[in-house]
Amino acid sequence: MSDNTIQSPLPGTFYRKSAPDQPPYKEVGDTVSVGDTIGLIEVMKSFHEIQADKAGTIAAFLVANEDAVTAGQSIVELKM
């Protein structure tokens, strides 16, 4: 697992937006500070924010909206 990724702490379904009619939390090219919310994980019908544990610029989303993820899976790749 590389150092320049943000991982999901929980397994579940990944969402890039807080609700279907809302814009995504972050887009490719956006800058990210520690503590910023980059997405949600739905686990057992409850929603948990994924917060950045490092700062940088988003190079890529490694997981598509509404994809299933495992705990520890990399979600976002950052340019540091």
Binding site: L10, P11, T13, P20, V43, M44, A68
Partner: protein
Amino acid sequence: MSISSILIANRGEIAVRIIRASQELGISTIQVYSDADKDSLPVKMADQAVNIGPPQPLESYLNQDKIIQVALDSGADAIHPGYGFLSENCSFADKVTKAGLKFIGPKGETISQLGDKVVARKLAEQSGLPTVPGSNGLVESVEMAKSILKEFDFPVLIKATAGGGGRGIRTVNDWEEFERLFPVASLEAKTFFGDGGLFVEKYLPRPRHIEVQVLGDGENTIHVFDRECSLQRRRQKIWEEAPASPLNDAIRNTICKKARDFAHMVGYCGAGTVEFLYDETTEEFYFLEMNTRIQVEHPVTEMITGIDLVREGISIANGKKINIKQNDIAIKGHAIECRINAEDPRNNFLPQPGHVEKLRFPSGPGVRFDTMLYAGYNIPPFYDSLLGKLIVWDENRTSCIERMKRALIELEISGIETTKTIHQALIDDPQVRQGDVYTSFLDDWLVNGKFT
């Protein structure tokens, strides 16, 4: 034509429960499953198992056309929806029937009527059931609310007409809050339930949740007595009992008969539950909603009456008339159910998907554990957190509590945290022991640091 094969459009412990009932009736079972449930217990137990797609419910357990196609291809005669998922979806019920299959539950039309909370309230009033004082119809704007609600003291509840099961409800304390939250609630209802319609009800301070089990075959309707489900966390039941301890015989008689009359009036087919709020101080009860499906907590009723509600539901769908007479149904003893969820009560109920290492199931006199767990099972993160239901019967409530306490000690699940620990704390609480609880008791109890 009688049912010889049932497709189970659900998962988890209720799928296991339906397979058991089917096996006892000599009916073969087809279990549909998502990629995440390939190794699940119902898949192992059913006569046939068919993969229906990815883990996300919309692509598998909620995929109506796919499920119906699998039923037709596999030669099923009927579909059992269990609870949740498609169980209260009227268009699914209609589609199943149109495909020439039997839907194990009421008619689509009944589901549609009772699923609309405003319509259900009106029907309840028509049958003589009291409802919580409120708007008696949709409230379309804050101005309209102001003209209707003058006589009510705050707080009030704003409810989604398409909601239910404790979802789509907001407590509002004054007009300022009402004006702010009304549009938000409408948008939320539109997003979550596909219908932004709202209505308003008076907030009852310390109600108890009482419900009545009914069975109908379209001609005959019977009640199978009452349950109490006041122990809830964030409006989700966690501990249920039968019979409801606050009711005396006269009130029990009234509430059960009125619930039965209501179900009869709507021509109810199958197993259903009429839910009420009960104000102990005034001994008044108010209709809340009717759930048009088998409920999670149905076993406590089975334990005190000896009636197998899942088998009865299948038999009714099979076109058989109910052959149980109301006068032959009696309450014997007391039953309690504790829901064992994959949640960590010591960490804000954080979901606990993961690997179950060791398991020890409780047993002995009066103990039943309905579960989909087995040692080595991997609990997937995509579905609700219910792992099993520990159900205990005894001669009376006091001894039932002691028996539950003993059974909880016997239950061992290692590898993940569960709600077993909160039940062990609740069972020693003096108010719980006395049965002195109300619907927000558990939330208050947690806020007051009673669980550490």
